[in-house]
């Protein structure tokens, strides 16, 4: 695997919602990143519905069907639906396959009957918990790969939220330990992804399915949610921002292995990924408040190609079921962006999104296109190793945060950040040395098994 050495975009100025340098086309002819933003709705089944394949099929039939129907009712031209597997769907790979087949059939019907264009993303669950099973050789591992095979037959796109390095990350994030983040996220995560994604891309090729991409949900999002809003005291926001920068090193691996996007919605690192790779990205922000809160609700839409709600449990609201409600909202969000594109006002519209949150907090700041691009540049300019590029991203991110007086930080946040910057200075230059250091330092972390990463 060759580490990326070039930016897809010459500058952040070139980056815009709705358009990607490398658009992709789905089975029913939807061009993602081809000039317009597409809503992506993510239903989650109600507890109990996972008992049998039959009940789960019925649950998804309704949840996905309601979203499709709502698009016809209000006139949204295109919809992508993602089903993130619950445990049972991946544990029984046939289930995930059946649900994909059922949804593809629903989509064909809507196309035929009304002219609604839709596509389906299947996201098998990564059942491999590093502290519980062997990442490379366990029944769970085989089930995950088997699930990709089953889903790829019917789905337009497949994705995963892979878990490599989580055991070390979990130890480090609550200890202000930036070395642990670099090791868990960039080194271990990246190595695990290479192993995993080579296989996923291969399965996709055989099935005419699009290998979407990965997300660092299990680490960078955990950091972001722990940092929380303006009253949390669990993790400094500056650390969460560094964790986000670091994770670019590993999320990028999917595309280096042949994934093409659309990326996974919950990967907040995607604006950086887009700046490097040019693949279409799926993002989520304000309209995913149903699933979690963030401080970058609008800015994260600045360069998105799909716009998602992350996940909403299927149930009734006054207006309709949740999946219909969120499909409607996402579609209107997208309609305003698409109107901006058609009017030639996309730059102004983007500036509104960016100014909404760029200085609301560190995450909004670093993911604003101008900063995202700079972090991407640091990544490609330091492509000696997963470690080197992860560290370069974090250092650049830290410098940007310390260097912009408009980004207000509490004294504590600032001092923490200065501390991380110092810690990073002291780290070894070479990846081998860093790995040696970490193998010792984290030898006793619960569940950490170097062999699972080929170390």
């Amino acid at each position: 695997m060759k580490l990326s050495s070039q930016m897809a975009y010459k500058s952040a100025d070139e980056m815009m919602f709705g358009t990607a340098k490398k658009p992709v086309t789905t089975k029913r002819g939807i061009v993602l990143g081809g000039g317009h933003v597409v809503p992506e709705v993510v239903p989650h089944p109600r507890p109990g519905s996972e008992k049998t394949m039959k009940t789960l099929l019925r649950e998804y039939e309704r949840a996905n069907g309601d979203a499709l129907e709502r698009c016809v009712i209000v006139g949204h031209p295109i919809l992508q639906i993602e089903n993130e597997h619950v445990f049972q769907m991946t544990h029984n790979p046939k289930w995930g396959g059946e649900i994909a087949a059922q949804t593809a059939k629903q989509m064909d019907e809507y196309l035929e009957k009304y002219g609604l264009k839709a596509s389906y993303r299947a996201t098998p669950a990564d059942l491999r918990k590093p502290d519980m099973v062997n990442m490379r050789d366990s029944d769970y591992t085989r089930e995950v790969l088997e699930s990709f095979k089953e889903c790829a037959k019917y789905a337009d796109v497949v994705s995963i939220e892979s878990m490599g390095g989580k055991e070390v990350f979990d130890h480090a994030i609550i200890r202000n330990d930036i070395a642990g983040l670099l090791f868990g996220q960039a080194v271990l995560g990246g190595r695990d992804m290479e192993w995993m994604w080579t296989q996923i891309v291969d399965i996709c090729k055989k099935n005419n399915c699009i290998p979407g991409g990965d997300t660092n949900c299990s680490e960078a999002n955990t950091a972001m949610f722990m940092a929380g809003g303006f009253i949390s005291k669990d993790v400094p926001h500056t650390m969460a921002a560094l964790s986000r920068a670091i994770c670019v090193s590993r999320t990028l691996v999917a595309y280096e292995c042949g994934a093409t996007g659309p990326t996974k919605d919950c990967a907040y690192e995607d604006p950086i990924i887009k700046s490097i790779t040019g693949v279409p990205i799926s993002s989520e922000g304000k309209t995913s408040a149903c699933a979690h809160s963030d401080l970058c609700g609008n800015v994260i839409a600045a360069v998105c190609d799909l716009w998602s709600n992350e996940a909403v449990e299927y149930h009734d609201m006054f207006g309709a079921t949740t999946t219909a409600v969120f499909a409607e909202i996402l579609g209107y969000d997208a309609a305003a962006m698409n109107a901006a594109i058609e009017l030639g006002y996309q730059k102004e519209f983007q500036a509104c999104l960016v100014n909404s949150d760029m200085y609301r907090g560190p995450h909004g700041f670093m993911l604003a296109p101008q900063n995202a691009w700079l972090i991407g540049k640091a990544v490609v300019d330091n492509n000696e190793s997963l470690y080197a590029r992860g560290k370069a991203a974090a250092v650049k991110c830290g410098e940007l945060m310390l260097g912009d007086p408009k980004l207000k930080l509490t004294a504590f946040e600032r001092e923490s950040l200065q501390g991380y910057m110092k810690d990073m200075e002291k780290l070894p230059a070479k990846e081998e040395d860093f790995i040696d250091m970490c193998l010792k330092k984290y030898a006793n972390v619960k569940g950490f098994d170097p062999a699972a990463y080929g170390l």
Partner: protein
Amino acid sequence: MKILEDFSNIFTRYDLNIEVARQEARKVSKDATLQTVADAVVVGETEECEAATKAALAAKSPMEVINDGLIPGMNEVSRLWDEGVYFLPQVILASDAMNAGIALCEEKMGKAMDKKGKVVTHTAEGDIHDIGQVIVNALLNANGFEVVNLGADVPVDKVVEACRVNNPVMVTGTALMTTTMTAFPKIAAQLKRLGLNIPFVCGGGAVSEEYVTSFELGIWGKEANQAPGMAEDALAGDNWNDMRSKWNG
């Protein structure tokens, strides 16, 4: 303000995509006077229909006018509605017209015509959202059922009593509020207790399939236009269980 010429990337007018080709109502009778009656129903003109009915009654028996003029006209309306040609107001106006014609025929006969069967309808206690029920009434009526319309905000006991007295083939409930739909299982329980196993179709904004199928007798109604079909099933002898498996699930 800049306004675009082409909106195809912003929204899709699916209503234009599925627009149904204009259809003429079919002829229902070879007899010119009866066809005039039917035509008046089809266009929903009450006064025209009354005039045509009176004219027809000069030569035909009241039952002929009903069975070969008014009802076939209304059947055409139902067909046009089912096929998406007609909108609701056209159905309501046609039904108003047909009822005016029937009233004249009944006057002449000196007795009320036989309806297919009775259906008791109501909107739940505490709830005044009755538009759904109004539509249901109109459609049942249009399809030849006798509607015992209890109106809105109807106490549980009153619904049960109406079922006991009228012995309908079906009873319906509409509720738009989560706080009012709780009356439905109470009604169902009382009906069961009295041995009245009448299919109880419940619908309205707040009401979910899950909720209605959680109590005995309950069948969930998604769209008002299902009501006539459901009533036909009940009339044909389907019990609530048969109906639930046909219309729900």
